[in-house]
Structure formats: structure tokens, C-alpha cells
């Protein structure tokens, strides 16, 4: 059993033996962002792992997240390495800090997710949108279906959230 799909002409194959990713992306297929939560210490973690990084317990449950957060840091790719991304430059590599579990278990820790900035209809963001986003921008998850029962999370500017006056961006545009 596997999740099969295709994204930007790249084939995607997630085998069921990769249990944690299979389950995470199956939930994405239902347009639900979930994180593993340890049955022992109850801390959530991201990305999917085979044990709890805080207490090493192997068992977890999948808890639904709000999918809301803020850009913690970013990179902006102007020279793509992968051929398939060349048509999409500049594109944003966002590190999104989710609202859940900020500064836990230690100060400066958080649930952080790597992802691309997208438009509200789940396409990679064009350059004018990229130029408006920086550290502090409030974003919300959205899903792009890429196969049967399979979707990937992308991040769009949260239209309903209160945004900072000016997100922090690299000083040279």
C-alpha cells in the first residue's frame, strides 16, 4: 500500500512502511494538518518522527492543529537548483512557527514547518506576493491535492489575521 501522486511533474510515492509520513500525508489528503503528540509527555512534534524527541516514547496520537502561524524565518530562492523550480523563481522557503506550543518545552523552541508560500488557490506565489512577506507575516495552511487521498501543505498569507505593519525583510530588494 502506498500514497501515489505527482507534484510539479515530480512523482510522489509514500510507502505505508514509512508509517509516520504515510499517516501525516493521509491527513493532509483530508485537508487536516496534524502533528504527533506523545502519549507520555504530551508534547507535540514536527516533522513526523519515529519516537518522541523530548522523552523518547515511541507511541503517539495525531492531534489536529489550527494551521495558523507566523513566518519565523525565510529564504528567497532566485537561482533554483532543481530544474522544475526554475519556472517559479523567486520562490519562498518559509519556516513557519505554528501558534501551538510556542516556546515549549524550552524558550525559543516551537513547532516549525518548512514550506512554500502560495496563493490562496494553492499555486506557488508570484514575485509581487513574495515581496510582501517576511518574518512576522501571519500565514495559514492550505492544501494542494496531488493524488488520490494525498495532498501537501502550502502556506498563504492569512487574510483573516491581524498582520504586522511591515514584516521584516532582507534589507536589499
Amino acid at each position: 500500500m502506498a500514497l501515489e501522486g505527482e507534484y510539479l511533474s515530480m512523482p510522489v510515492h509514500i510507502d505505508a512502511i514509512d508509517r509516520e509520513h504515510f499517516e501525516f500525508f493521509s491527513y493532509c489528503g483530508r485537508h487536516e494538518l496534524r502533528a504527533q503528540q506523545c502519549v507520555s509527555c504530551h508534547l507535540k512534534r514536527f516533522p513526523p518522527t519515529t519516537a518522541c524527541p523530548f522523552c523518547s516514547h515511541p507511541e503517539s496520537t495525531w492531534e489536529r492543529l489550527s494551521g495558523c502561524g507566523a513566518v519565523y524565518s525565510y529564504g528567497e530562492v532566485h537561482h533554483a537548483i532543481q530544474q522544475i523550480f526554475r519556472a517559479h523563481t523567486p520562490y519562498m522557503l518559509l519556516l513557519v512557527e505554528l501558534d501551538e506550543q510556542r516556546n515549549e518545552p524550552e524558550e525559543f523552541d516551537g513547532l516549525r514547518v518548512q514550506g512554500n508560500l502560495a496563493t490562496a488557490d494553492a499555486e506557488l506565489a508570484p514575485s509581487d506576493l513574495v515581496a510582501q512577506v517576511g518574518i512576522g507575516t501571519r500565514v495559514k495552511v492550505l492544501f494542494k491535492t496531488i493524488g488520490t487521498g494525498l495532498a501537501i501543505p502550502l502556506w498563504a498569507v492569512d487574510a483573516e489575521a491581524e498582520q504586522p505593519d511591515k514584516p521584516w525583510r532582507y534589507p536589499i530588494e
Binding site: 515530480m10 510507502d15 519565523y72 528567497e76 537561482h79 532543481q82 524550552e106 525559543f108 523552541d109 501537501i152
Partner: protein, 417 residues
């Protein structure tokens, strides 16, 4: 004195092992030969530099991203029968770690003298980020968070840590560009550097953007080269050709919490050196203020800066001031990467920075100064363009190896007696 800082303590093999030979091929783009040839030539050059013969070598270590030739083949080509060898996976931060392993296997009686090499066609075959390789295989679960979002090269992996450092501490693009400027000044005094042209801050900031915050000239050069070093016990080192570079302490591939998912554990502008420093300095019995030359890995301008901060050469957040102040320049208080490093001399996954510090400790860097009747260069300590790059009276150096923001290695070496 605290036992941990007692230099007479044998606890950490302090002062018992040395790098006695260094070897390298030309730093080129287009070696026109295999990594097998590069490795063989570099290993042979290092053995010869040590004043040893191939029969003195009985251990070998190498590292690669499966883009090189393993040691049984290199040793076989040179007619060396090995009692120990190992070829490990990895790039930056490997060389210091492998020095530690070499010390351990010799101490365990497994062999006596180890050559460590890295042979790579880093421009003409497998480029940084494995460009041209692996791009067509299906995306699995975890790679949907990497290749699936266009995150595959080193710059793409590290950029968020660099950007966050600017946000957290107000580090400016101009400050960071000084790393390239200063290393280019050093490279101008290194006849074997791939880029010998001096660079200005304006050159860096006007070069095209690769991945913000990295301009083209914030990124290191990609080159083809073989590099090697010879590690043995200090008592054997005294029979070798050159003054030994004596190993005072080593940290090997120390990692931040969460390892490759280091960005979950904050602050992300802090790197592995924050943890490695607590091994490096106590084991060496010295601190950053005692170090005269640093070799802080410059895969990017930022990697040099972040590591110097976290190893304690300046306060956290003041790396921008440190790298732009002139401290790291030849003639400054503590020059960094005097060969030009990865940004200018050539890309070796860290070996050339160790080689350079070994030569600094010998007081015999290969600059353009005239060679005297004793076969040694008559260093002028005039650091103008094309001039000397020997630092005066070097006794202690530090290498700070970078793997990722979350992985680092380090080594302190002293001039042997």
C-alpha cells in the same frame, strides 16, 4: 588549576598526536582526471611532505557523498597495505572528526600512521547540493519537505538560519560581505588559490542573488581537488621532515538538539559550535583569546561569522562587528582562513583550512616570499597584494568545521617543539 584545564593531563590525548604531512592537488575547475587520480596524488604528496614513505602508512580514512574513490583503491594504487581503513559518508565537519578517529584507532593499537583524504570533482562531476544527481527519483515522505519545496542545496538549507541572525541581531549584508573581502585579500597572497582577485563589499552586494540572503559571492567556489593529511603520534612526528602541528583537542560532528531538524530547537541563529565549544576549549586547556589563527569554515560568508560567535571569539550577536572589524585580516589580531578558504582558494569540505593552519604552525606557508638557503621561505610579514601571508610567531590555531547549522566539528593545534 582545574584538572580539566591542566595541560599536563593525559586525559584527552592532548599533545600526543600530530599532523605531520599535508598534500593537495591543484585547485581547478576541470581536473580532467578521476577522483581516484586526485586521491592518489594528494595522499602521495602528503606522505612525501611528512618525510615518510608509503610503507610507513598503515591506516587510511576518507569521506565523501558517494562522489569519491574509497581508500582500499587509493591505497592499492600506491602499494600500501592497510591494517585499518574506513570511508565515511559526509562533507563539511568531517576532517576534524576523522582526526579524532585516527587518534583513537592509533591509541587502540589498530595501526600507527593514518592518512586522511578527500578527493572530489566538486565542479566537473558532483556539484554542491548534488546538482544534476538524484533530482529524478520519486519524492518520498520526508523529501516532500525538502526537494518537494525546492529545498535541496546547502544555501537553501542554511538560509533561514542566516536570515534569522540578521533579524535577531541586526547583522547587515555589508558586515557579512567583509568575510569574502578579507578571504579574497588572503587568496591574493596564495599562488595556488582558484580566485586570486581581490573583492570589494560592493562586488559582493552587486553580485546576483542566489538565495536570499546569499549573493553569488557569499557562496564558496566549486572546484576539483584532492587533499590529504597524515596523522601520527608525536614521538614519531619528531622524526618527520617538518615541525609537527600537535593536536590539543578535537570535537567531532557535535550536533544541536533535534539534529537535522535543528530548526525546531531555538534560537535557530545559534549553531552547533555553541555545544562544541564546551568540549573544545576545556580539552585543549586554552580559550578563544589564546588562538592566533582561525580556520572558520566558509561554505558561505555567514558560516564563518556564526561559528566565530558560538565558539566565543566574540559575544553572541556581535559576529557582524567581528568579521568587519579587521580582526580576521592578515595583520589583524586573529586572521581567519589565511589561504582564502572555500570562498577563494578552493572547495575541499574543510581539508584546505586544516592544511593552511598546519603550514602556519610550521611558519612556512607557501606564499610568494623568497626561499632562503635553508629551504624555508623568508617571510616578510608584508601583507600587501601578492605578498606574504605567514602570520608572525604562530603557536596556536583553531579549525571550526561546519556541516550544517546543526552539525559542527573543531580542532585546536599547537606548534610542536
Amino acid at each position: 588549576m582545574n584538572q580539566e584545564l591542566n595541560a599536563s593531563s593525559s586525559k584527552h590525548l592532548r599533545g600526543k598526536y600530530a599532523i605531520v604531512g599535508v598534500g593537495e592537488t591543484e585547485y581547478t575547475r576541470g581536473s580532467g582526471c578521476t577522483t581516484r587520480t586526485l586521491g592518489t596524488r594528494a595522499v602521495r604528496a602528503a606522505i612525501e611532505d611528512a618525510g615518510l614513505t608509503t610503507s610507513d602508512v598503515d591506516g587510511m580514512l576518507s569521506y565523501s557523498y558517494n562522489d569519491s574513490t574509497p581508500s582500499p583503491i587509493i591505497a592499492g594504487d600506491l602499494g600500501i597495505r592497510l591494517d585499518f581503513h574506513m570511508d565515511v559518508y559526509g562533507g563539511g565537519s568531517s576532517i576534524e572528526a576523522l582526526v579524532g578517529i585516527a587518534m583513537g584507532v592509533i591509541e587502540a593499537g589498530m595501526c600507527n600512521t593514518v592518512v586522511i583524504y578527500r578527493a572530489m570533482n566538486g565542479f566537473s562531476q558532483v556539484r554542491i547540493g548534488g546538482t544534476g544527481r538524484g533530482g529524478r527519483s520519486a519524492l518520498s515522505g520526508s523529501s516532500l519537505f525538502t526537494r518537494g519545496i525546492g529545498l535541496s542545496s546547502a544555501g537553501q538549507m542554511f538560509c533561514q538560519s542566516f536570515m534569522r541572525h540578521m533579524y535577531d541581531y541586526g547583522t547587515t549584508p555589508e558586515q557579512v560581505a567583509h568575510v569574502k573581502v578579507i578571504h579574497s585579500e588572503h587568496a591574493a597572497n596564495n599562488p595556488k588559490a582558484y580566485y586570486k582577485q581581490r573583492t570589494t563589499v560592493e562586488d559582493v552586494l552587486s553580485s546576483r542573488m542566489i538565495v536570499k540572503p546569499l549573493h553569488l559571492l557569499d557562496c564558496c567556489v566549486e572546484t576539483d581537488n584532492g587533499t590529504a593529511i597524515v596523522v601520527t603520534r608525536v614521538d614519531r612526528a619528531n622524526d618527520c621532515r617538518h615541525t609537527p602541528a600537535v593536536i590539543q583537542s578535537v570535537v567531532g560532528r557535535c550536533i544541536k538538539p533535534r539534529g537535522d531538524m535543528h530548526y525546531q530547537s531555538g534560537p535557530i541563529s545559534t549553531v552547533a559550535g555553541h555545544y562544541a565549544k564546551d568540549i573544545l576549549w576545556p580539552n585543549a586547556g586554552v580559550g578563544p583569546k589564546d588562538i592566533q589563527v582561525t580556520g572558520s569554515y566558509d561554505a558561505f560568508t555567514f558560516t564563518t561569522l556564526l561559528q566565530l560567535e558560538d565558539y566565543g571569539f566574540c559575544k553572541k550577536g556581535e559576529g557582524g562587528d567581528y568579521v568587519s572589524s579587521g580582526v580576521m585580516r592578515l595583520g589583524g589580531e586573529r586572521p581567519n582562513n589565511t589561504s582564502g578558504g572555500h570562498l577563494c582558494e578552493g572547495y575541499t569540505h574543510g581539508v584546505n583550512m586544516v592544511i593552511e593552519n598546519v603550514r602556519q604552525l610550521r611558519h612556512d606557508v607557501d606564499d610568494s616570499c623568497a626561499v632562503g638557503p635553508d629551504g624555508k621561505r623568508q617571510h616578510t610579514f608584508e601583507y600587501g597584494e601578492g605578498g606574504c601571508r605567514q602570520v608572525k610567531d604562530v603557536e596556536l590555531t583553531a579549525n571550526l568545521g561546519w556541516g550544517t547549522p546543526g552539525i559542527g566539528s573543531a580542532m585546536v593545534m599547537a606548534r610542536g617543539g
